[in-house]
């Protein structure tokens, strides 16, 4: 697939005005910033702080030919493959988690030649976003030396001009769009994250367009009082979507645990029925509920509260 160089990435960024303006919008409008063929980077990691509301909206827009990149890819990858929205995944790992084994869907698509999975090491993915965020074409590492990932990816080797040692160079990744879920943001897009930052700071700065969903939209004064907690600056952000439980059924640190029962039910059904189960899931959980509220109703308030309570206990944030 075509890759954006650091030169093009900067020129594209320069072409865009970035005033500190109100960027709040509805999820559907924000998702329309994703165009067919875009490289979409997904924030969070596996089933943590995944921007699930935004991903559902992109699926509802029936986009095509998307390239999805993520550090560890969870079943959102399956939804995009089966829905036809994407045939290109860039990641270091894909599945749900240890107890659920291999992804039947990814296997079928990749082994059948219907999808491409571009695998990098986890650090290599991180350095690709980091290079993008830094505005440089590559970063050096010792990762992937001695691995066949060196020849199957776009990485290169060089001899270090300072030490004479061999290095792996991983190319910068400049996503067209980054979708990121955060704990709080002001209307301008100044955003704060609690707990794990994952790779979201770099993803935001590497991407041409950034869409945030936030558990809470807060007064800019609150951000100014706690500026040393801000992880993503407004000038990197294009849209801010208010989204309580916006990562559900994935987890949001300190606020709610992942709904493993739901994920387990999904995984079992897909293991048994394959793509048909994913299509049914898309109908029920993605295309069906027109709003975040309607989606959450499928789980019910009691379940949401239970997940919140355990998260607060676990992180000591309930005191």
């Amino acid at each position: 697939m075509a890759t954006v160089t650091f030169v093009e990435a900067r020129r594209r960024l320069e072409a865009k005005a970035r005033p500190m303006r109100d960027k709040r919008m509805a999820a559907a409008d924000a998702a329309s910033l994703v165009r067919d063929g875009d490289h979409v980077a997904i924030g969070g990691c596996l089933y943590s702080r995944t921007p699930m509301l935004l991903l559902r909206e992109v699926l509802r827009h029936r986009r095509r030919d998307l390239v999805l990149s993520r550090n560890l890819m969870c079943y959102e990858g399956e939804l995009f493959l089966v829905s036809g929205a994407s045939r290109d995944l860039v990641t270091s790992w894909v599945g749900i988690g240890l107890p659920w084994g291999l992804s039947r869907i990814v296997r079928e698509f990749v082994e059948g030649g219907r999808a491409r999975l571009e695998e990098w090491s986890h650090l290599a993915i991180g350095l690709r976003y980091h290079a993008g965020a830094m505005g440089v074409p590559f970063l050096p590492t010792l990762s992937m030396l001695g691995s066949d990932l060196l020849r199957t990816t776009g990485a290169r080797t060089m001899t270090c001009p300072f030490t004479g040692e061999q290095l792996c160079l991983v190319p910068a990744l400049f996503p067209d769009v980054a979708l990121i879920h955060v704990h709080r943001a002001d209307p301008f897009g100044n955003a704060q994250i609690d707990g794990y930052p994952h790779m979201d700071l770099d993803i935001a700065a590497a991407a041409q367009t950034v869409v945030l969903s936030a558990e809470e939209i807060v007064d800019p004064e609150q951000i100014r009082r706690t500026a040393d907690r801000t992880a993503i600056p407004f000038f990197a952000v294009d849209a801010v979507v208010e989204a309580p439980y916006g990562a559900y059924p994935h987890e949001c640190y300190g606020l709610y645990e992942a709904d493993l029962d739901h994920i387990d039910a999904y995984a079992r059904r897909v293991a048994a029925e394959g793509a048909a189960a994913v299509r049914a899931y898309l109908d029920e959980y993605v295309y069906g509920p027109a709003t975040l509220e309607a989606f959450l109703e499928l789980f019910g308030a009691g379940r949401l509260l239970r997940q919140s309570r355990s998260a607060r206990e676990l992180t000591g944030r309930w005191t």
Partner: protein
Amino acid sequence: MSYTASELLAVSASRLLADGKIVFAGVGTPLLAASLARLTHAPHLTIVVEGGAIGLEAEPGRLPISTNEMRAGRRAVMLPSITQIFLYAQRGYFDYGFLGGAQIDPYGNINTSVIGPAERPRVRLPGSGGACDIACHCREIVIVTRHERRRFVERLDFVTSPGQVGAGDGRRRAGLLFGRVTAVVTDLALMDFDPATGRMRVVALQPGADLAQVREQTGFELAAAAEPDRLPAPSEQELALVRALDPARTFLG
């Protein structure tokens, strides 16, 4: 005293971890082993996971399924970014790295990517995740896996995570200046690598296992001392503790 293969693996792996060190662990057997070590002989062992937690203390009965979820950050002293965690590994802070794998070759190289050709695999495996990085950067890499003939193969379809890479100084020639695979722990044996050939060899046998059985379950020629050492069986205390860590047997099977 009876125990399962996965219990044996967790206990054997835990014994390889010295007190006061730092271990880069994944979920499942590695986190069980590291948590067990902290409860037994290594109370000052620090556990680090790639999701971004340093010094975590997983809650018995509530072990994380992935390293990036909040259960993995319980009582952590720091929650850095994923990239930062791996850069700490690259800098050289982490003593041990645990790896598993679908295929392992005589040099300790591991495949978790594809069976068959990379372009059109016969089996698409989940991929490296942080395994390749752990293999490249940790100081002592320990492979922990079930001992099965289909796993221990002479030649990998794909090298995801480099071990010794090849004969002699293969790892060094590949550009990997630091770290090495120091041990392979299975439910049948403990193995290391012959410095002369770079190949895996049996150091000791698990209780009840014999060399013929190990070789039968290994798809490549495996050297061994005439009389390999015998590993002690898991103690009652070790078994009780590891079972208490995972009472639902999510990872113990």
